[in-house]
Subunit: 457 residues, 2 copies
């Protein structure tokens, strides 16, 4: 059957790039998320035009073949993992910036445009594309839309959804639709643009994105504050809020994260405190806000960098690029829960207790401005199945406790394949069923990225 399907595919799509060699299949079998069971796709196809995507989906509908859409494959929840008898539809060649309209403060891009490339292109206009996942140098806008990606600047500028004005989407049957508008505001009809954003390729394939751009800040100021412990540093987050300062970036690093950075970069952060708070302010008020931040954090006993500190800026860049560190001989899982801001201290104390209880290692970094934490748990691979089981138990508990505090299982990475197991802990059965029925409206045959984002598909 497989050979028949592929033969049919090649015949149906004569001009479309297609690969079935083992190297390619292996390379496109997974994204950067945890793999529970490696499955290779039947084939990888690369769309170069909207018509290609339509033809591919028409073929897939006709042959009832599952389609896994894929950007750069940098997701970390397995949203682009291949599934049984699927083809992977890569959008990476649809990477043109179609329009930059500086006066309208928007741009129109194909899904394969790299986040950083869009920012480079709009910078000469004094504009930026605000959502900045840590992967921004390698991830695509289409992938960012699929996961409703967050980033460091979310606390001030919002997540991907907040910068998406309109979408061109190909539905499972090949129909091309347009949602949204080229204006900042608009309330005609239901918010389908928001519905597609974050739907992880399960409702349609996004082939065009109209994004809102923001002003490139004229001024940026950065403050680093070392604290004796996490508790005081997290209190600093609330104190900055009480001072009514809206930082663009507010990152909180625990001692283990500082030690890891020291190990990787030869720095001496660990000698200077047990927790680090990095705050960046931007815009016309950047200087005044940074002054207020320094006053507030010094008052709490923080050791605060002076104005114009180059070190503070370097630390933010280090943090920005400290993504997904794989380590030999270690089994690692990065988490992505979010909790209400006021619960940061309590939650991290709980994480530390869990790490002790389950005998796993832990480090924590948080987008503290919005309560989104990335704990990393790890054990030595030498511990085998017993270590893996302890890791799983710690993960499970970390999610249950976050939910108990009113949090969510995923702040910005998406559910993908990896987090499906926890979704029913967060969302009631009726809500899951509604989502399955919404999915059926857009993709009645269930060919689009099955087994991702919502259970039972």
């Amino acid at each position: 059957m497989t050979t028949d399907v592929l033969h049919d595919l090649a015949l149906a799509l004569p001009g479309v790039s297609l690969a079935t060699d083992s190297t390619t299949l292996a390379a496109y079998a997974k994204d950067q998320g945890p793999v529970q069971e490696l499955v290779e796709p039947l084939a990888v196809v690369w769309a170069e035009t909207v018509a290609d995507v339509q033809n591919i989906l028409r073929w897939a509908s006709r042959t009832n073949t599952a389609v896994v859409p894929r950007g750069a494959g940098t997701g970390v929840s397995g949203g682009a993992h291949a599934t049984r008898n699927c083809i992977v539809l890569s959008l990476e060649k649809m990477n043109r910036i179609l329009d930059i309209r500086a006066g309208d403060e928007l741009a129109v891009v194909e899904p394969g445009v790299i986040n950083a490339d869009l920012n480079e292109a709009v910078r000469p206009h004094g504009l930026m594309y605000a959502p900045d996942p840590a992967s921004y140098r390698i991830s695509t806008i289409g992938g960012n839309v699929a996961t409703n990606a967050g980033g460091l600047r979310c606390t001030k500028y919002g997540v991907t959804r907040d910068s998406v004005l309109a979408l061109d989407v190909v539905l499972a049957d090949g129909t091309l639709i347009h949602t949204g508008h080229a204006t900042f505001k608009g309330v005609a009809g239901y918010d389908l643009t928001g519905l597609f954003t974050g739907s992880e390729g399960t409702l349609g394939v996004v082939v065009g994105i109209t994004v809102r751009l923001r002003y490139l800040p004229r001024e940026v100021r950065t403050v680093a504050a070392f604290f004796p412990d996490f508790r005081t540093a997290a209190a600093g987050v609330l104190a900055v809020g009480a001072a009514r300062v809206q930082p663009a970036i507010m990152e909180l690093l625990d001692g283990a994260t500082m030690a890891a950075l020291d190990g990787a970069h030869g720095s001496d952060l660990g000698t200077r405190g047990g927790a680090l708070l990095l705050i960046q302010t931007d815009g016309f008020g950047a200087e005044a806000e940074a002054d207020a931040v320094r006053t507030v954090l010094s008052g709490l006993g923080g050791t605060v960098t002076s104005a114009g500190s180059a070190e503070a800026e370097r630390l933010v860049e280090l943090r920005r690029h400290s993504r997904g560190d794989a380590v030999d001989h270690e089994l690692r899982v990065g988490e992505d829960v979010a909790v209400p801001r006021s619960q940061l201290v309590h939650y991290v104390a709980e994480l530390e207790r869990m790490a002790r209880d389950h005998g796993v290692r832990l480090k924590v970094v948080a987008h503290a401005g919005d309560g989104n934490l990335h704990p990393t748990f790890w054990v030595s691979t030498a511990e085998g199945a017993a270590g893996a089981a302890r890791l799983d138990a710690a993960l499970d508990e970390s999610i249950t406790v976050a939910l108990g505090l009113g949090g969510t299982i995923t702040g910005e990475h998406g559910v993908g394949q990896f987090k499906l197991r926890w979704l029913s802990q967060e969302q009631q059965a009726e809500v899951l069923e509604l989502q399955r029925r919404v999915k059926a409206v857009f993709d009645p045959a269930g060919i689009l990225n099955p087994g991702k984002a919502i259970p039972g598909t």
Copy 2:
């Protein structure tokens, strides 16, 4: 049949306030939108608890009775107009602020809470609820959610959707669901919170709203700039953007609006220019931003108020409260299109041409920061049907031209009943059909606010 239904309703809901007297039915037959055909409801019921709403909807499902949910009735698109054989479900008595969590920067409210009352309650915490429709003193948060209301501060702080974190919603069959999360970020499942926001009571009845709060700005600065003509004033909007200033408020008033304000308040705006740009900056950079605004606008030939001008602040308040002015002997319709920002000048020139072509009067005010315009067209009622026909023709053309520029038929008021006729000009048939099918997922019998928001329901 009507008597039977009402008898059944009274029996089914013994504890619920219910009215069928003619004064009440007339008062609840419509909101502030244009009325094409006045229809009175069978009854008005007031829910006081979530259980009341559930019981009412269970009853409505059982008897297949249409339900029109209603907040304060301040909408201007007829979204709360009664329809044939419906009951009006008023949420105005569910008006408690359930929780203010300052550390988490959020509040939980019932739908009937007045927007201004929420702001008063959170002010002592140094916080604000940012979305500020002109009706904020009289409109409810539930109504704001139903229409995804905009306001003056949207350009900086976003629309209602951007401040809604989670919703409690009763579905047509009485099922209570919870969507979203008590965190700023969260990407678990589809964005049902966004789907309900702006759905105008057609997908469910919102009974609880978790809103994100923002910092009450420490500083606010206001600049008023008079220009000889609209073209130059609108150029000022783009120039402020090019200076990378992000105002909280940026309102553009044409000469006719200034004349109307002079008539109503005895001011002399008309002697000072042909267009007025009002800009408010806020936050730590307010002063520096206002300085930059003054420099930019003076450079364009604007007559700019000096720093600390009380007049500029007074003008913003005047603008803020200049809502929906009914005038005796005049047939008036206010519009709500949005166009890409760079098209403001062109679009207003087109509006002026249409007013001449169709022989109607015109004034225009715009939330210029986001290209959302409120043109008001009017004729004398003495002109009878001929005048009304010219008014309709002008309205039609104003919408067609806005759409031709890449705009939308409604920036912030909603489609309701009044704008349904234009929706298919903006949205393709496939998109309208998808929305009907989404509606059917949530409300299969079609009892929730039929004939509103999307056509064919």
